[in-house]
């Protein structure tokens, strides 16, 4: 991948908490304007890796860079101009409409916020819900609203890194397909996406690159069609692939 420009670079990143090694000497360059999907078994360090890239968690050792600049050298407002992050569990303290929740994502936008939010809502099939109150939505609708909020922060795409932790959870197959298409459009426009997914088939379809993790280490990383092999999946998860469920 030396011919691809990297948007996010990790060099010898390790993290130990309460005596347990969560990340172990991770060195990886995430290519710009592409979608890298991280997969691995539970507790393998996928979400921790996103936390370290987002600066929610400081790496114990090693360095993390976004657009060739050490992440620790960014001020918070500067970082918000380059990085958006959807964490797994979201809640709101008060009743807000769908429109207002998504608008919070565009809080730093220099272009007309109402127009931007309108565009994002249309692209995620949320236009008909714009005036609905967030607490009244179904789980899948809430998830789409939160995705919309995070995408509103990086809608200009270029020079942005978007981290999505399990974006497909709670989504039905129609909206999964729609989201994959939207994420593809955004990477075409220059957005760098790094996401964590559990559904291997969805991950394979969504990813330009795959990063396989096990016990805080990288098993393999590369173009999705090369990395997604039966042997790699078996090595990462310790089960036979494709799955065969006997009755």
């Amino acid at each position: 991948m030396s011919d691809l420009q990297s948007a996010v670079s990790l060099s010898n990143v390790s993290l130990t908490r309460s005596g347990s090694r969560h990340l172990n000497e991770i060195t990886v360059d995430f290519p710009a304007a592409s979608h890298t999907v991280i997969i691995g078994e539970n507790g393998s360090g996928k979400s921790t890796l996103l936390d370290v890239i987002s600066r929610d968690t400081k790496a114990g050792e090693g360095t993390v860079s976004i657009f060739r600049r050490d992440i620790l050298s960014y001020t918070l407002p500067e970082l918000a101009q380059h990085r958006a992050y959807l964490k797994q569990h979201q809640s709101l303290g008060f009743e807000l409409s769908v429109f207002d929740v998504v608008k919070l994502g565009a809080i730093n936008s220099r272009i007309d916020r109402d127009n931007l939010v309108g565009e994002v809502l249309v692209s995620l099939d949320l236009e008909n819900l714009r005036e609905k109150l967030y607490p009244n939505l179904s789980g899948g609708e809430k998830q789409r609203v939160q995705i919309a909020r995070v995408l509103a922060q990086c809608w200009q795409a270029e020079n942005h890194v978007c981290l999505l932790d399990e974006p497909m959870s709670s989504l039905d197959i129609k909206h999964q397909q729609q989201l994959i298409g939207l994420l593809q459009d955004l990477t075409d426009r220059g957005l760098t996406l790094i996401s964590v997914m559990h559904d291997l088939e969805v991950a394979r379809h969504a990813a330009d690159f795959l990063l396989l993790m096990k016990a805080g280490e990288i098993c393999d990383f590369g173009p999705a069609d090369k990395v997604f092999t039966d042997q790699n999946i078996q090595k990462t998860f310790g089960v036979k692939w494709p799955l065969k469920i006997s009755d």
Partner: protein, 329 residues
Amino acid sequence: MSTRLHNGLVWKLSFLLIVLMSISLAFGASTLNPFLAFDSATVQADILRNLRLPRILAAALIGAALAVSGVTVQGIFRNPLAEPALIGVSSGAAFTAALALLALPAGLLWLDLYIAAAAFVGGVLISFLIYSYFSYIQVQNTGFLLLIGIAVNALLAAAIGLLNFTADSDQLRQLFFWSMGGFGNLGWSAVITLVIFLVPAGGYLFKQHQALNALLLGDQEAAHLGFNVQRDTRVLLLLVALIVGATVAVAGIIGFVGLVVPHICRRLSGADHQQLFPLAALVGAILMVLTDVLSRVVLAPAEIPVGLITALLGAPFFLWLLSTRREMN
């Protein structure tokens, strides 16, 4: 709510406030024609200009301040049940005011001023100590700040109880009325004091509406949007402590306004703080002006403490709100 609708509502509420303030000039120990205020050198004009007008202005300012503080505290904690008293400012003020009342000799010149100053310092100091302890235990969850506030409030309530135990009957009566809140003695000096504290602090608070909006998503999400959550929370709490400390020092403890008004306003405008702040200020001012009229009229010529009326009306209203609001879940 659209900007046009919001602006229309702000204009209507502003008009209503001015009308209510003008009408409330008429009420008191005796009913007076408000237009007599324009006469020169009559006792009625003097009463209207130097007793009722400053009192009504102070009531409006205090109502606005308590409501805006309530909006801020609920926004910081993302908790619709939070109110300014939970950060210890009211109990801190009550404790130091009681301490001053008992320690200083009765009949001392400017005794009321010393008590007000002690209340202000105590309110701000206790809030600062609560926040310092929260920082010291290094817990990221602001919910812990509420728990610390509850514990400190209980401690101070016990301490105030002990002070009451040692007070004589005159001191007890003074403490009682002070803890119930009231506008009876407020003149132009109180209005000027309130303006000096509340206008700059309130203006700065309003400038923080984006940070409060971001905090609705949670501390981490606000940080992802570029906000320094710890610094912003600290600044916001300091401003609330200053604002509430000033109101408590001037008028004693007035509960429920900071809890109930934000709920009414969220129903009107939604949770966007840019719209919520001006609405809360106006609704808080209107409610306090009305409450002040009630306090003067119901048992005239005697006055009922304002804090009693806000609790008597506010508590049932809040119970009704609890039964109708989903966000309390």
